[in-house]
């Protein structure tokens, strides 16, 4: 909301407070000022090296060089048809000013004016915006000859003074503007741009902000006096109201003003509206907008004679009701809208007139010809207005307020304020009375507060009197009885609840009024909670640490993806699908972490070496219910095994066994035993000969292997093989770790090598297992150190060379070692057909 300071000052004395101090106080109290735009008032000086506290823009007007002046004569320019010469008086001397302003041009050659025209006059040396430049460019007025006539000063447009974008003509001030007065004193302003929080809608008006400032500064709130004279027949005899659904329309108020003269509003009013971001139309429409910004109640003006004609000259009857599905109304923007039963209509007996609280209808709107105005102020159900404004994409100042809740009491105040302004600006005569239908007044909130409540929730000691003194400036009614304070909400607030909720509502106001910055800081004195920890989280963090220690980079991918993206590696029948995705490629929740890490690898395809992992949930849909969110781990490695350097020009690429080694280290780091790796030829996206499943005991916890060449072709990846692993973390986590250590022996071990030739089809794990089994306890380590294939041993064979470490708790003799070795070889020969390689 854009709020001119000059307007605010009508309701509270702000002397001695700078614009920035006002903005700071409002910001801390929850009315955050996003920007201050200066339109005349002096801007704060910048300290060395510092910038403004708030985002600041605009123009300050030099008091001596920009003043109110009056045009006394309008003469033609001797050498230019399109220009006129203005003789004006600036309070000290006569000046001649050139202008091409269209709003003066009709007076060209008029000579001496019967009534002088007041203008905003910038003297030689004044700094203003260049009216002809695109955007805002500062310029300083200098003496120059234009078509032979000396020009050194000008009568300004709004653009030149930074009030609005308007450069269509010069500003014509109201007649009462005092000639010679510095313009900044007459109408210098600054505009606060305030973001209105959802619970602060009551403050989306000048009076509301003034009320907050009164509470924050301890100064008095001077509410506008709404009084006026009335004449003629009472509106109550001419118009009636029927509300069909009070839930949707708790109150409807109408007032009548006769014999208005439609014309522009006073300049000061137009200026304020423009600063507030509203385009002035005419005095009647401006009065509705001005009253809304002033009081917070959106108003709607009908051409009374149009309604009267529609009623065939009889009394007008206004009816409010939900629209019938498919009903049509042409709104005042000229659009024919098809309505639904969510929308509420203001109708007469002939049909719809306007979309309640959102936009008026075209037929009954105020025009140049309007003479008599029927003014509506109403209260609407905020949810309903919100839905309607969204449905028809009609955000407006009115729907902004109504969709956040406007108290029904404001319907009457708003209409009265609107009539008062219309009378003042149009010369119209207000009819006595108001037609007021108020079937559903809101509950009045009454909350009992004790000093103990304040202590318990805010942590401060306040007396009931102190609490009351914080609330009364916000217009709460406070009654003290013994140990209790009975707080009644003011009649402009809908946000105050009852009971414990009401208490929280009131305490928020106490805290805001007291000042959050003044509340003390304390350490919790409360009892400590039960210590339940988070074993799942702690365990996953441990997994992350292990993987990082193995040289893998953690990544985090979008949870949102598309089935097409994932189907490059694996396909799923169903997904958690969004009803409102931002884009088709982000329309489902992922099912596969393999897809995530592959996309990351593709993105980094130009890197020499990629080794990464991701931990997180995948989402398994369940019809009509929340999805399962199992936790998964995916690892991916591809590229060079070694890092290159100036003397390391090349490196082998990662292969199956690099991945397997990482997995072994991970699982031993998690203290798992009884781990088996078995060939897994039927995992569609992995190479059938280079894939394995990992089991711990009976539980399959993961698979890994080289990406299938056909799958790899679907990604833009480098030449090197891609190793991929996927683990079910929920399964893995449930396996109990086995803690324990092998004692570190003091006796030196006996080392021995053994190489055997076996068929290519014999898995190494079988050889390994048989060696261990036969070696028994004293065979502490078995390490495969070479695998050989070649002519020497014949086709279809491989040689496996093992280094055996015998470790006993006493020194072993060579004979003892030889005996065991003999036993091992014998079993390998008998059970696997192995041959000792010599």
């Amino acid at each position: 909301m854009k709020l001119p300071i000059s307007w605010l000052k009508e309701y509270i004395d702000l002397d001695g407070l700078s614009v920035e101090e006002i903005a700071r106080k409002l910001t801390l109290a929850g009315l955050e000022v996003d920007e201050i735009k200066y339109a005349g008032l002096p801007m704060p000086a910048k300290r060395e090296g510092q910038r403004h506290e708030f985002k600041t823009s605009g123009l300050a007007w030099d008091r001596d060089k920009i003043v109110v002046a009056e045009i006394r004569q309008v003469n033609p320019h001797p050498n230019a048809d399109r220009l006129t010469l203005l003789d004006l008086f600036d309070g000290e001397q006569d000046q001649v000013v050139l202008t091409g302003a269209p709003n003066i041009f009709h007076l060209k050659g008029a000579g001496k004016l019967p009534k002088p025209i007041k203008v905003a006059y910038a003297k030689e040396g004044a700094t203003i915006y260049d009216g002809h430049a695109d955007g805002l460019a500062l310029t300083t007025l200098k003496r120059a000859k234009i078509r032979g006539v000396d020009s050194y000063s000008m009568a300004c447009s709004e653009k030149e003074l930074g009030i609005s974008e308007d450069h269509e003509g010069i500003i014509i001030l109201d007649d009462d503007a005092p000639v010679g007065m510095p313009l900044v004193d007459y109408m210098g302003d600054a505009v606060l741009d305030i973001s209105i929080l959802p619970n602060m809608a009551r403050n989306a008006n000048v009076l509301g902000v003034a009320r907050e400032l009164a509470a924050l500064t301890g100064r008095e709130l001077k509410k506008p006096v709404i009084e006026y004279r009335t004449t003629g027949e009472s509106v109550e005899h001419l118009v009636s109201i029927e509300i069909t659904e009070p839930e949707l329309n708790p109150r409807f108020v109408l007032g009548l003003i006769r014999n208005v003269e439609i014309k522009p509003s006073p300049y000061q009013i137009q200026r304020r509206l423009r600063l507030a971001g509203i385009r002035p139309i005419n005095n009647i429409v401006d009065a509705t907008n001005y009253a809304m910004l002033d009081q917070g109640e959106p108003l709607h003006a009908f051409d009374y004679d149009v309604l009267k004609a529609r009623a065939g000259g009889k009394n007008v009857k206004i009816i409010t009701r939900p629209a019938v599905d498919g009903e049509k109304l042409t709104t005042l923007d000229g659009v024919e809208r098809t309505l639904t039963s969510t929308n509420v209509l203001v109708c007469d007996e002939k049909g719809p007139l306007s979309m309640a609280g959102v936009m008026g209808g075209a037929e009954s709107e105020v025009t140049e010809k309007t003479r008599n105005v029927l003014l509506e102020g109403a209260a609407w159900n905020f949810i309903n207005i919100r839905k309607t404004a969204n449905q028809h994409n009609l955000p407006s100042e009115a729907s902004f307020r109504f969709s956040r809740g406007v108290h029904p009491s404001l319907a009457e105040t708003g209409v009265r304020r609107g009539l008062q302004l219309m009378a003042a600006w149009s010369g119209g005569a207000i009819a006595p009375g108001l037609v007021d239908s108020y079937p559903l007044p809101p509950n009045e909130s009454k909350v009992t507060v004790t000093a103990k409540d304040v202590k318990r929730l805010l942590g401060i000691d306040l007396t009931l009197e102190q609490i009351a003194s914080l609330l009364t400036p916000l217009e709460f009614k406070c009654e003290i009885t013994d140990t209790r304070l009975l707080v009644t909400s003011p009649s402009h607030r809908l946000d105050m609840g009852e009971g414990v909720v009401g208490l929280a509502d009131v305490l928020e106001e106490v805290a805001r009024s007291y000042g959050y910055d003044k509340l003390p800081e304390t350490h919790m004195a409360d009892a400590l909670p039960p210590q339940i920890g988070n074993p799942i989280h702690e365990w996953e963090e441990h997994v992350r640490d292990l993987l990082v220690n193995l040289g893998l980079q953690e990544i985090v991918s979008y949870r949102l993806t598309s089935p097409e993206r994932e189907s490059r590696v694996t396909t799923f029948d169903d997904y958690v699908t969004l009803a409102n995705p931002i884009a088709p490629e982000r329309r489902v929740m992922r099912r596969s972490l393999a897809a995530s890490v592959l996309e990351a690898a593709e993105k980094n395809a130009r890197a020499d070496s990629i080794a990464l992992f991701e931990i997180g949930p995948v989402f398994e849909p369940r019809p009509g219910d929340l999805p399962r969110e199992p936790r998964k781990l995916a690892l991916l490695m591809t590229g060079l095994r070694e890092t290159l350097a100036w003397d390391v020009k090349d490196s082998p690429t990662f292969d199956f066994y690099d991945m397997k080694g990482r997995i072994q280290l991970l699982l031993s780091g998690l203290h798992y035993t009884d781990i088996t790796y078995a060939s897994a030829a039927s995992i569609p996206h992995l190479h059938p000969g280079k894939a394995a499943e990992v089991r711990i005991g009976d539980v399959r916890v993961g698979v890994f292997g080289e990406l299938h060449p056909l799958v790899k072709d679907r990604y833009e990846l480098g030449e090197a093989p891609v190793l991929l692993a996927e683990f079910d973390l929920d399964a893995l986590r449930r396996i109990p770790p086995v803690y324990g250590i092998r004692p570190v022996p003091e006796v030196p071990p006996v080392l021995e090598d053994i190489a055997v030739i076996v068929d290519e089809t014999t898995p190494a794990s079988k050889v390994d297992a048989l060696i261990r089994q036969t070696g028994g306890k004293v065979l502490a380590h078995v390490r495969l150190f070479d695998v050989y294939r070649g002519e020497q041993i014949g086709a279809g064979k491989k040689s496996l060379a093992y280094s055996l470490t015998y470790q006993s708790d006493r020194t072993m003799t060579d004979a003892e070692a030889a005996a065991i070795r003999k036993k091992i070889i014998k079993r390998l020969e008998q059970e696997l057909g192995a041959k000792l390689r010599s």
């Binding site: 109290a29 805010l458 400590l528 009803a579 890092t643 390391v648």
Partner: protein
Amino acid sequence: MLEQLNQIEKTALESLAAVDDQRALDAWRVTHIGRSSPLMLVFAGLGKLSKEERPIVGAAANRVKTALEAAFEEKARAIKEAALAKSLAEEALDVTLPGRTVHVGRLHPSTQQLRRVLAILAEMGFQVYTSREVETDEYNFQFLNFPPNHPARDMQDTFFVEAGERGENPILLRTHTSPGQIHAMREFAKMNPDNPPPIRIALPGMCFRYEQITARSEIQFNQVEGLAVGENITFADLKGTLNDFARRMFGQGARTRFRASYFPFTEPSAEMDVECFVCGGKGCGVCKNSGWLEILGCGMVHPVVLQNGGYDPKRYSGYAWGMGPERQLMLRYRIDDIRYFWGNDLRFLEQF
């Protein structure tokens, strides 16, 4: 004889002076103090001398032997030192050549920041509580005092899930970790429904908002919320705790301010700003000239939320706050494009 010994010594020493490498030294040793050197021949001939001459010549020969051996040792040491000096000089490296690196694993920056935050909170007694990412409207909104069609819902644009007709309780992607507040309160309350125990938890996790993906807005982000509930918890405690947190997170000199704000699930609500650590409060691009950085939103747990969690608001009170680890990283590292976080570009991730 004595004259001969003097000559032997003189000749040997003169010859040694010319020796400058190990090979020449070995040769000198054979020639001058070796078994068949003139000096040794003198020792061998001692037996043939008279009884009177024998001790005199013997003593003189021993003196020469000692002197030559000492000279030899001296020379040997000098040659060794020279050789070492030479080889050291020859082995000198260009120390400006780059070192060899290894593949280093790193945690994602968000994980790193989450850990920093959670570690501080853990020391302050807040335990980690995690909950699901796909939620119901009830848990994400209604139990947190966002009624259907409430204007506060405009603050959190939501992704909804296609899940058939579920009326006013659709399935959605959580917009904040706050549903975990309800899950946690209900879990704790269940331990002792008549006297629910106090709670101090930190709720980290991924959240989602319906946004366009731009340099400044993302569809997913991490959040960490804190929640304390007990029989004796005040707004002043909230200020104390969050100021402690800010000092641990941003330095002991960190200054903060609390601004009134609005969240449906807290009342009173506030935003905590920290004095800009880039410009020290003078105003800069990072703090948009204000001198303050918005760090977290907070407030006293709304009575409706306490009630929905199984805690009687007449007896219990609490506070909660929420903050964004990615935002903290962006401020700390001056990251100006939020899309880096889920872009998974190694050239970004390697910098943390």
